[in-house]
Structures are given as structure tokens and as C-alpha cells.
Symmetry: C2
Subunit: 494 residues, 2 copies
């Protein structure tokens, strides 16, 4: 390897650009599988996706990388190039931790499990789902054990690290223990306060009109339809690539409010993706910072903006025009801030939501450590739901441990990101308001764009150029501080 002083770094840039092209195809395959693909296409797709995953893995573990990275680290690079090199190295280490055969086996098992889950969930078929999940969980544990040994952390920490670089079980335990100390009482206080409030009837709305409304609301939030789409899937998600972001949702014709806020949530993810630094497209430094930060953007959209009265006032005429919905923005605000313990995480209100995460965090830790067998998951679920939210889920698997896609595709370690994201979102709002004024006032004055611009400047355009603690310090003056989340809930709900 001779050549000019910049050659090692440039070799890495080219190599990771190439990887990003295959990841583009992987994102497309995932999106299509969830939105468009007929069931009969699943087997061949699963095989193709497994082959692709193996290929991407082989590119990320190419023998030349270790040496090239080491030599690039000796080069004179700009601060941004150094950040990109740090992220390249992180991806290399993550990929190198797991053998290609295991990647392929897990991809195949995940496709098989998720394909079957789609029907099994509808049919409340735990007995059908269980063996698939058991098989997949064995592979997840194998992966966790291998990663743990290499990173010298616990197996569950090794999974967390895939989504939240540097985050540990101990940190989350500490944060979540605090939450447990005040949240149950807060839920009771809010429920008591809301008990006397009137309940409004939600008018029915066809899926077609909800989809039209969804697109108008996305436009209000500044979603760029030249670089993305909205479709339907079993489980709402934001996929695709930064230049072509694919949102999905699902519509309940008896209650449009859930699908609508689902779209607002996913649009928050999409805005992050569409706002990532264009100069770094295709490079690791150009990717979103972490999953919790991704969730912070969707939750900022959904919770900080979407459930506020300013935004609801803004979209109310669209609800009237497209759905014929006569509810005033005050009534909408009441509906969207009503706290009611329920079965479904994605339908949960802002206050009870963390309980769904506390449960899953405990379950995942125990599943990965082996303390909890897959067969015992429904009982564990029911007892936790009982103690956290007073809900019995015995026998109701579809609204219990089969409700989420995450485990059906073998993604453990992701769930904590949701509540960490809610905390980051509250912290961003506090910082934003201290800098540019109240979000509600801005929206009421037709300046939702200023809110988005702040996020664009401080979060989206940063990609992964900064590590998360530094990003938070530059944006908000401090690292993650869960107190903002508690204060936000108290301000809004008490």
C-alpha cells in the first residue's frame, strides 16, 4: 500500500460507499417485505436477504480493513474525517464480532419467524409462534455471547451496544429505577385528575380518507414527498434510505386518532433521515446517531409537537375537511392527552408508555441471560402488566407478548431506546425553548418551521459526526438528564 498520504482513508471511504449501496438494497427488501410482498414470495426473499446480509457482513469484515483503518488513523485528517473514521472503525468492530454464518442463519430465522408471525399474531397463535421464537432466541443468545466475549461486557450490554453505542444495562437500570420510583404515582394522580373530564366520541373514518389526511399532515410537518412515501404495514415503521424514506402506518376505521399520531411519530423519524448531512451520504458519519436519538426525533414530533394544542389547532381543519370530524382542537387535545393504561405499546399514551418499556427491558434481560425461557414469556408478561399497569393479559397473546415485531425479527436491546428517546426529546424541547421560545407559541404563530430548523441544526445535520454525549452538550448544554422528562410530564398532565 503506497500512494498519497490520503489513500488509506479514501480506500475506506470508497469501501463504505459500496457497503451503503448494498444496505440501500437491504432497506428496500425489508420495506417491500413488510408492505408489498405477497406471502408466497417470502421464502425466496428470505434467502436473498440472507445472502445479502452475508455479503454486507463480508464487506464489513474484509481482511484489508484492520490494517487500512490502523494506517488511516496515522493520517492527517479533518475533524469530520476523523469522526467518519471513528464510525467506520465502530462498524468494523461490530461486524467483526459476529461470524458470517451466524449472520446468515439469524437473518433466515428472522425472516421465517416474522413471516409466520404476521398471521399468527392475527390468530392469537402463541403455540405456532413459540417454536419459531425459541429457534430465533437461541441465535440471538449465541450472537450476544460472542459479542459479549469480544467487547468484554455482559451479553445484554453487547446487544444494547448495537443500537446505543456506549449505553449499558447498569445505566439503564439506574435511569429506569428512578422512573419506577415516581411514575406509578404520577399515573394514579393523572387518572384521578382526568376521571371527571368528559369523554368524546371519535367518528369513524375510512382508511382512504385517513391516508389522505396522513399525507396532508406529513406535508405540514415538512416531509419531502420527492424523497419518500407513505404506505401500510402490519407494524408501523420508518424505513428506506435518506434519499427515499419509506414510512408505514396502519388504519383503524373505528378510531383514526391512533393511525394519525402514528404517522406523526414516523414523520419525526423521517425528518431526521431526510435532514441527515448530504455531504456525508453513504458514509458512516452520515448516519443517524443512535436509535434513542432516532426515537427522540419521532417522539419530539409525536409528543412535544403532535399532542400539543398548537399543532392540533393547526391540523383540525384538515380533520374536518377530509374526515368530516367536528371535534375542536380542545377536544382533540383532551383525547390525545388522556391517560389510560392499555395493552398495546404503540397505542399507549405518553405517561403509561414507559411502563411498556420497563416490562420489555426486564423481559429481554432475563431472556438473554437465560433466566426466562420463551415458554414462560406469556406468564412473565401478564404478571408484569398486572403490577405495572393493573392489566391482565392471560391468554391474550396478540395484545401481549406477540404485539411487537422486534422480537419476531430477533432484535433485542432496542426497546430501551424508546424511553431514552422520550427523555432526549424532553431535553431538546427544554433547550430549544430557552433559545427560541415556547414551542406552542411558535406553532400558534405559524412558525413550526422554526422548531424544525432548530432540530435540523442541532440534531439532523450532525449525523454521527459527534458522539452522543457531545451532541447533547452542544445542543442542550448537558448530557442525558431524565429530569426534563419528568418535568415535561408533570407540566402537561398535573
Amino acid at each position: 500500500m503506497s500512494a498519497d498520504s490520503n489513500s488509506n482513508y479514501q480506500t475506506l471511504v470508497k469501501h463504505f460507499q459500496s457497503i451503503s449501496h448494498f444496505e440501500h438494497l437491504s432497506a428496500l427488501g425489508d420495506w417491500d417485505q413488510a408492505t408489498m410482498m405477497p406471502n408466497g414470495g417470502g421464502e425466496a426473499r428470505g434467502a436473498a436477504m440472507a445472502e445479502l446480509a452475508k455479503h454486507i457482513h463480508s464487506l464489513k469484515t474484509a481482511p484489508m480493513l484492520a490494517g487500512t483503518i490502523a494506517q488511516a488513523q496515522e493520517q492527517v485528517l479533518t475533524a469530520e474525517q476523523q469522526a467518519n473514521l471513528r464510525e467506520i472503525n465502530y462498524q468494523f468492530l461490530q461486524a467483526n464480532a459476529v461470524p458470517g454464518d451466524l449472520v446468515e442463519a439469524k437473518t433466515k430465522a428472522a425472516y421465517h419467524c416474522e413471516q409466520a408471525w404476521r398471521e399468527q399474531r392475527k390468530n392469537n397463535d402463541w403455540q405456532g409462534f413459540k417454536p419459531n421464537l425459541e429457534q430465533l432466541m437461541d441465535l440471538v443468545k449465541e450472537e450476544a455471547a460472542i459479542r459479549a466475549e469480544i467487547l468484554n461486557v455482559s451479553p445484554y450490554d453487547a446487544l444494547l451496544d448495537k443500537f446505543e453505542p456506549g449505553m449499558t444495562t447498569a445505566s439503564i437500570d439506574s435511569i429506569f429505577t428512578q422512573v419506577k420510583s415516581w411514575l406509578p404515582e404520577l399515573i394514579q394522580q393523572v387518572q384521578h385528575k382526568q376521571a371527571s373530564e368528559p369523554k368524546y366520541t371519535i367518528p369513524p373514518a375510512s382508511a382512504e380518507s385517513q391516508a389522505l389526511l396522513g399525507r396532508e399532515v406529513m406535508q405540514i410537518l415538512g416531509f419531502d414527498f420527492n424523497h419518500g412515501r407513505l404506505d401500510i404495514s402490519n407494524h408501523p415503521f420508518c424505513g428506506g434510505v435518506a434519499s427515499d424514506v419509506r414510512l408505514t402506518t396502519r388504519y383503524d376505521e373505528a378510531d383514526f386518532t391512533s393511525g394519525l399520531m402514528g404517522i406523526v411519530h414516523e414523520t419525526g423519524h423521517a425528518k431526521y433521515e431526510q435532514g441527515l448531512p448530504i455531504a456525508w451520504r453513504g458514509q458512516p458519519a452520515g448516519l443517524a446517531r443512535s436509535m434513542a436519538l432516532h426515537e427522540s426525533q419521532s417522539l419530539f414530533c409525536e409528543m412535544q409537537v403532535g399532542r400539543g394544542s398548537g399543532f392540533l389547532k393547526l391540523i383540525q381543519p384538515h380533520l374536518k375537511g377530509l374526515l368530516g370530524c367536528d371535534l375542536s382542537h380542545e377536544k382533540l387535545n383532551n383525547i390525545y392527552t388522556r391517560v389510560t393504561p392499555g395493552h398495546i405499546r404503540v397505542d399507549a399514551d405518553e405517561v403509561t408508555y414507559p411502563c411498556h418499556i420497563l416490562l420489555r427491558f426486564e423481559a429481554e434481560k432475563a431472556l438473554v441471560s437465560g433466566e426466562l425461557a420463551v415458554a414462560d414469556l406469556p406468564d412473565f408478561w401478564s404478571s408484569q402488566m398486572q403490577s405495572l399497569l393493573g392489566i391482565n393479559t392471560d391468554g391474550d397473546y396478540k395484545n401481549g407478548c406477540m404485539q411487537d415485531i422486534h422480537w419476531a425479527v430477533g432484535e433485542l436491546g432496542y426497546f430501551p431506546s424508546y424511553t431514552l428517546g422520550a427523555m432526549y426529546a424532553a431535553q431538546f424541547k427544554q433547550a430549544m425553548e430557552s433559545q427560541i421560545g415556547s414551542v406552542e407559541t411558535l406553532i400558534n404563530n405559524g412558525r413550526l418551521g422554526d422548531v424544525m430548523h432548530w432540530l435540523q441544526t442541532h440534531v439532523w445535520s450532525q449525523g454521527s459526526l459527534l458522539e452522543i454525549d457531545e451532541l447533547m452538550r452542544q445542543a442542550t448544554g448537558e448530557t442525558l438528564n431524565p429530569a426534563h422528562f419528568k418535568r415535561h410530564l408533570e407540566n402537561r398532565y398535573l
Copy 2:
């Protein structure tokens, strides 16, 4: 390379299985780009598809292949394995003919050209399209020249060979010269005969109701919706993979007849794909035999079955139910067998259709040889349309040389397959009828399934296990004989 006697062949099988997985992703990328992708996603998609094309090319030209194929040819193999090895070798030779950089450059240029063409075609923007086509045509000519030298044939022959293994310009010239000797007179005779027939008004129909009708008609033809979909694109096509066939069409709300027959046509392609031998999925022997044979199946569906009175009688109640269309099957038959020279190939009737191909065949030969410059294409087009069909296309590029997607994606050498396909279709019908009786009678007796079963047995299930001449001999008792096509037109139209 030691190991058991079967190892070289098995190595090839595994290698081509892997290639088929990447081709699955390529088919998905193409379909999505034509049906779902927003314009702004084009650049990144183009780069990803070019990377993928390059990777597939590198797999098909892997250094180990030459030796492994040579050694496998010495092995004791079944007749079917030998056929697969022959097709593996054909793919290897085809891929090896062209350098990877050229494949990548052409893929990129084709994506760029086709993306822009979508809008340019709508706007009749020849000046915008011309430089893109010129750039792409240079790459096509470069490819043709390289292939020609290696295969020791003319450049255009080298392109034909990609779609019709073994077919030559000389053979097609000879067949098309015959067609030219009788077709113009036949068109005049038919027009004279039809001049006194009444013309029926086609009722308007919404795109939504046409899509519902299309799905019902596909079901009647036995399309398996567990292994495929119907969507909308600028240019109708049949894509995807055998286990997940993706049809597209476009709807004209003022005239549903064109979109409907377009769906019938593409369903013919789809039936071929869905009927390919399952035991050979993912192997070259399991692919469709040639593009002309593919077109023979779509044209069998559209022309031999679709425009016959038995089929129209079968679907008439669906037209009434979904579109409120009161036209009797006799009137539909009249509409679907009306001969009217027109601008658009895909809307052409069965009799004038070959003229559209004769024109394109002459244009392609001249473009590839350099006798015709891209800049002169519109004039060439207009003069040929004038002499073949009496139509002036001066200044009407969107309905002239910009109407098809083929050149916009750099696919030259494909067009002759349409008319060769019509000839194969007529020959299949003649053979089928001599074996199981009249297609019209079968359909009238509710036995459309028997017609499909014959095709399944003699064509679809054969994949590429036989070479085309042998397939035709086994199915029809002779190799391609254009006389059947002439007889079919005379029987139906005179």
C-alpha cells in the same frame, strides 16, 4: 480441487444459486423504481443498482468458473444437469464478454436516462432526451462491439444473442422480409372489410374499477396472487421473480380496453414465470427459455386467448359488474379485432403490430452499425411510419421514438422478440388444437384450464432445460415456422 465426482458441478450450482439471490434484489430494485420510488430517490437507487450489477457481473466472471465448468463438463451428469451446465456456461460466456466497468457505466447511464425519460416523454421533450440517449447509445455500441469480437458475429447479432440465443440478423431479415411481402396487403384487405362495420363507443371507467377488473381477469387466467401483484407503472411490464411476479399496467379512464388487454398480456408473461420448474428455481436451467418465447406466452394470452370470442364472453359479466359496461361479447370482439394503424406499439392491434417491430428492427440495426445517428432518429421514425402505416409522426416524439422504455434503458436487440413471439404463439395454438381441440371450444366449455395446462406441460415447466428448437420440436413437431402466424391472421381477419 479434490473431492467426490460431483463436486465441480455442485460448486457451480451453489455459485449460481447465490447469483440468483442477487438477481432477486435486482428485479426488486427495478420493479420498485418503476412503480413505487419517488423521483428524488433515483440517484441513490441508480448508484445502488450499478453496484449490484457490477457485483453480479463479478460473480458471473469469477476466476474459478472457467476451470470448474471445464471440469464439470467431464463429469457424469443427468440430462437435466447437463442442460443446467450448458446454461451456466452460456451465462458465464455472456458475462465474460463485457468488462465490469462497462456494465456499471451502462447501468448508471440507463438509470439516469430512464428516470429523466419519464418526465421528458410526458412533455414531448426530445431535446432533453436526445443527449441522454446519445450517451447511453455510445455505451450500447461499445458493448455490442466487444461482444461481437468475442462471439465472432456482427455487433447487432451480439445484442440479439442476449435475448434470443442463436438468433441472427440474417434469420430475422429473412423472416421479416417475408412478412413485408404480405402484411401491407393484408392490412388493406382487413381495413376494407372492416370499413362497413359499426363502431362502438367505449364507456369511461375509473382507474380503481379497472384495477379491480384487472385482478378478476388475472384470477380467471389462473394468476396466483400468493405469488405476485398488480401495480401501475408508466410502461407496463412483468417483473419480479418466479415466486413473486410483479405485473404492472397503466389505466386510461376514457378507454379501458387497452389497459385490460395489457393486463391479459402481462398475465401471459406471469403464467410462464409462475409455471417455471420449481425443482430448478435459482438455477439457469430454471429460467424462461428466451425473450421471444416469453413474448409467445404473453401474446398467446392476449391474442390467441384474450381477443377470442370465448374469452370475451367469459369476462363480459365482470365488465358489466365492475365497470357498468353494457357491450356484448360480440361487440367487444369487434373492438378487440379492429385493425387501425396507430402510433403506439403497445396499443397496436394484432395485424399492424409487426409493422412497429419492422421499424424498430431497422432502426436498431442502423443505430448499432452507426448508419443512423440518434439525432436523426425522429426523421427515420417518421418516414418509416409513413411508408409502413401511412402515419406522420413529425414533431410528435412522445408518440414516436420516445414511446418505449427499451431504448431509454439501453436495451437494443429485444424488439424482434415480440414478433417472433407472435409467431411462436400461433404455432403453439396450431399444435395445441391438433392435440386437444379448438381453443375457442375449450373456453366455451369452461375448460380454459386445459389450455393453460398444455402450455404448462410443453412450455412453462421446461424452463431452459431444452434449447429452443428442440422445445419447439417436442411441443409442435417443427422449429419456428412463420406460416402459422400468417394463417392465424388470415383466419381471424379475412
